[in-house]
């Protein structure tokens, strides 16, 4: 039986705190991508934008806009971007403003050509 239950019985505490550390299995959850600005090029960014099924990615000049609210963590951009992207492992993304969920990533790779 869970430890918090015995602790509650012993101390008479009805409610407990939020867990300090997530469970290990949570690392396997599908999560939005994180991009490496040094490896990211305009060409890779455009491929990732084209691969995204939910329009979570958009490119504005040398900025790649990632809308976490629209991202369904399908992983298609990871397949396209290769080493320029990897799963972030972050899934606790609750935000008090919709704008907090839109992230802009600077494209810092070479202007033309891939890796």
């Amino acid at each position: 039986m869970a430890l918090w239950f015995w602790r509650g019985l012993r101390k008479g505490v009805v409610t407990t705190r939020y867990p300090a550390v997530t469970d290990p299995w949570a690392r396997g959850l599908p999560t939005p991508p994180v991009f490496d600005p040094k490896r990211l090029t305009v060409a890779i960014a455009d491929q990732a934008v084209a691969a995204c099924p939910s329009q979570a990615l958009a490119r504005e000049g040398t900025l790649l806009l990632l809308d976490l609210g629209a991202c369904s963590a399908c992983g298609r951009c990871l397949a396209v971007a290769g080493p320029a992207a990897r799963p972030s492992g972050l899934f606790e993304l609750a935000a008090t403003s919709r704008g907090h969920l839109v992230k802009s990533i600077q494209i810092g790779g070479p202007a033309e050509g891939g890796i």
């Binding site: 991009f35 600005p37 629209a70 609750a94």
Partner: protein, 193 residues
């Protein structure tokens, strides 16, 4: 620092007396809800055209593994008993009346959580069938992304909604440097968990 912040809003706010950014303002606003609800919050869920996977994840919050009740959160079948409304789905127009009635029936103060990518505008664009974004129908306090959001993400959203945790997403840039701020999988401690 603790003495200067002799606010009656909540213990969590006393550690951060100066309200500076938009995020702090939101935390202060939601902290007022926390002072009212304490550790007994009743949640009503409404489905506005979701594919039912979000409902499946919400239902899992009651499983022994997550056990919502230990945090003082409960589901209620009636909006009149609810403090918090969890809305899933892309806000289909056919649910406008039901959603409006549910929102109106909830007593003040009320908090609304948009659950999943659909009410955040991720999956369906606005057309004659759906609003696309829940914000166009009712005011939304907390956005929980994910398709679907895992029960742990929902749990964090619920605690952010009542000011018991601070939101973490503003600390991440989703560029490669995010690992410096917080290693993946770890949860940063809130002001009063």
């Amino acid at each position: 620092m603790r003495k200067s912040g002799s606010s009656s809003i909540g213990a969590g706010l006393r550690r951060r007396p100066s309200v500076t950014t938009e995020e702090d303002e939101a935390f202060a606003r939601l902290g007022e809800a926390r002072a009212v609800f304490g550790r007994s919050l009743h949640v009503r869920t409404i489905d506005t055209g979701s594919c039912a996977v979000c409902e499946s994840e919400i239902r899992l919050l009651l499983a022994p593994h997550y056990d919502l009740h230990r945090l003082g959160l409960f589901f209620t079948p009636a909006p009149r008993h609810a403090d918090l409304l969890m809305v899933t789905g892309p806000a289909v127009r056919a649910m406008d009346v039901a959603l409006g009635k549910t929102y109106a029936a909830m007593p003040e103060p009320k908090v609304v959580i948009a659950v999943g990518a659909c009410p955040l505008g991720g999956i369906y664009p606005e057309d004659e069938l759906v609003h696309g974004r829940l914000e166009k129908v009712i005011p939304v306090d907390v956005f929980v992304p994910g398709c679907p959001p895992s029960p742990l993400a929902l749990l964090q959203g619920l605690l952010v909604a009542v000011g018991r945790l601070r939101e973490k997403v503003t600390g991440f840039s989703f560029s490669e440097d995010f690992g410096v701020l917080d290693p993946p999988g770890r949860i940063r401690k809130g002001p009063d968990r």
